[in-house]
Chain length 414, copies 2
């Protein structure tokens, strides 16, 4: 118990009060800031105490797979034969060659007339989302987000003057179109959809996207202006069971894809992603101008130059997704056999089971006593659940399963 108290002290550590000169707004949000990052930090502390090998850290979605060999080869090639000027500034939207490679891929994938002008290279999807919100939001505008959701979205929207408007999903975490319709109003500027979803692993079906597209068209018409559909596709290539991810661009013209190569090419630390605006979007030109401007003035300036070069030819590549799928199978089958209730994920690398007691924080603490790190559902706007990130070595999962079983038995016998 001693280490738990110790660890908990770290978690609830609040910084000294006194007369502080930092932003009051930031100060107010710092404390409840990020459960994911907090658990990551607790994990570091536990690892120091028990040794890395003896801690089962499923807190952060930090891909364990290495980038594909093609990327390593491209890096070596460039290091061996550096190009003069390859580290200099380029246009704020990125290298034309990279944008063209992505546009070609998007064209092939969607059948739509994408050109390099529809693509802006960004500092990951997190950068891309901030750039997108800056481009479209004015003070008080609302962005609808289905919940549970990746809580950083709230900050990205708030940074740029907007307000998040959460809508519940169904029990199985699929889109609840009635709730979305109810939430759309005068202030609605966009809806942000994340599929495959973090934290649930759910993929929204073609049918639901079709209906969503129809709803947005109707509502845009009623409002006399465009509601944007922002599709966060950070996990777009991490898809299982042979499922083909429905293409958002097919169902609504005013669609903005925000994505990165953090997961498909395992480059999260390198901050390389892009924003793509549908060629069917009526305001494409103006929107693209705003995105490029936002990329500049928000201080990103441009996506990292070297990585832009490396990812250009790898648009059809990805890490060995089957590894994640096997992790899912192992984890999902074991957890359900222990009595956990969990929606089977079809993509991403998360499981979002029900906690066996109402208090997800207490449940997560119980798992910690088995040296298992997960994130409470409240960190995703959904208390009573917890998130497991399983982009980890298989033996970590195998090592943790007895702990999951013991905790399940504890609560079953209570």
């Amino acid at each position: 118990m001693a280490f738990l108290i110790f660890v908990w002290k770290i978690i609830i550590k609040e910084r000294g009060s006194g007369e502080m000169a930092i932003s009051k707004k930031v100060k107010g949000t710092l404390i409840g800031a990020s459960w994911v990052r907090r658990m990551f930090e607790v994990g570091d502390e536990l690892k120091r105490i028990h040794g890395e090998e003896n801690v089962y850290d499923f807190s952060l979605g930090n891909p364990n797979l290495e980038p594909p060999p093609s990327l390593k080869k491209a890096l070596k090639e460039l290091a061996d034969h550096p190009i003069v000027g390859m580290h200099r500034y380029m246009a704020n939207s990125g290298y034309i060659e990279t944008r063209r490679a992505i546009a070609d891929y998007l064209k092939e994938e969607s059948g739509l007339p994408f050109t390099e002008n529809h693509v802006i290279m960004t500092v990951g999807a997190a950068g891309g989302l901030n750039v997108t919100f800056k481009s479209i939001l004015d003070e008080g505008d609302e962005v609808i987000v289905p919940s549970p959701y990746f809580m950083e979205f709230k900050f990205y929207i708030d940074n740029n003057g907007g307000e998040i408007r959460l809508v519940e999903t169904h029990e199985d975490f699929t889109l609840n179109l009635d709730e979305i319709e109810k939430a759309i109003g005068e202030k609605t500027k966009a809806i942000l959809i994340n599929s495959p979803n973090n934290p649930t692993g759910v993929i929204y079906s073609r049918e639901s996207l079709e209906k969503l597209g129809q709803l947005l068209k109707r509502k845009s018409q009623e409002l006399g202006r465009t509601i944007y559909l922002i599709s966060d596709e950070a996990y777009r290539r991490i898809v299982y069971d042979g499922i083909k991810l429905p293409n958002f661009f097919h169902h609504y013209p005013h669609t903005i894809r925000v994505t990165s190569h953090s997961k498909d090419l395992s480059l999260p630390g390198e901050r390389i992603g892009y924003v793509a605006v549908s060629p069917l979007c009526e305001e494409a030109d103006e929107l693209i101008g705003a995105l490029i401007f936002a990329n500049r003035v928000l201080g990103f300036v441009n996506a990292p130059a070297l990585m832009q070069r490396l990812v250009a030819p790898l648009q059809r590549n990805s890490v060995h997704v089957r590894d994640y799928e096997e992790n899912r199978d192992l984890f999902y089958n074991a957890l359900t056999s222990f009595g956990y209730q969990v929606v089977k994920p079809q993509g991403a690398f998360y499981l979002f089971p029900k906690a066996m007691i109402d208090d997800d924080l207490a449940f997560v603490q119980e798992l910690q006593s088995k040296r298992i790190l997960t994130v409470p559902g409240r960190g995703f706007g959904k208390p009573g659940y917890f998130r497991i990130a399983y982009a980890v070595e298989r033996r970590k999962i195998k090592g943790a399963l007895p702990g999951f079983k013991e905790v399940a038995e504890t609560f079953r016998t209570k």
Copy 2:
């Protein structure tokens, strides 16, 4: 004349009106957005018409020197012997090894007890400034900026709810402490100083920093809270005439250094920099917590991983600054001999001469008729001047001098 009109059309091109759904605020700022970037784009167009060789582009501070061989070697080493996990997420503040290397350097340089905890790795200095403003500003807080100034500062402050408060410098662009004192009031949260300065190339003297430090101490006491000194040192290693750059950390405890390796290691496209908080700053802990939080939620997440590794051991390295100094000498001597009035820069790679007519835009257009690209002073809050960025190949400067001479003669005979 024909091409000038053509070029001008590009410059004043405004995007279509109609019922647009992008941010009204962004739309309002898009048009007058950046003279530097506009001139950069005009340059691209001129190059297409006349051929790259025949355009003298001094618009953008895009270093022509290649990174030092040590950096290229480090990149090759890493590409040849990749480290498992080297592209993954790390702590939002960056690798501890990189922060420690920088802290060691800062300690040596300043004699102050810097540790890795005082350093946050950022997406360049532009990222670092946004992170800093997010951390300290609340709605309506003011940041004092001596003018002429790098106009992006205005956006960085505005992005994070603050307001820029410009103060004039002296005729020779040195700090006017009386003006600064007059500007400090209830809303003042920070002063942002950039030395060596963009666009003037001026370095603020030790004496003026000492006086500034005293002023800020007195004013902080009067206000009963800290006024921060933010020191943008993007050009800190680009210093001439054997001058030693005064150390801001010595003159005021509440100092935040924001810098990057864009210029000293010629890596502007890679977006790698850092923020360092003075160990003497009373609120250092809380401020650092806020900076790390801001780095995360603004969507930077962390500075690019690969570059963090590469720059760590190169804190005492830089490009061959003597090349820039020779450019300055050549340019400065020629311009003054043609009759231009210009303060001799002691650092950075800019000259900021007086335009020979009041209308700096007309003057810059006149230079364009000689295929010379510069930026009007209004792009730096100082009409009647123009900026020359001379981090270019020597032969470009030599090629442009006759044009500068002809324009000078045109206006002298008028």
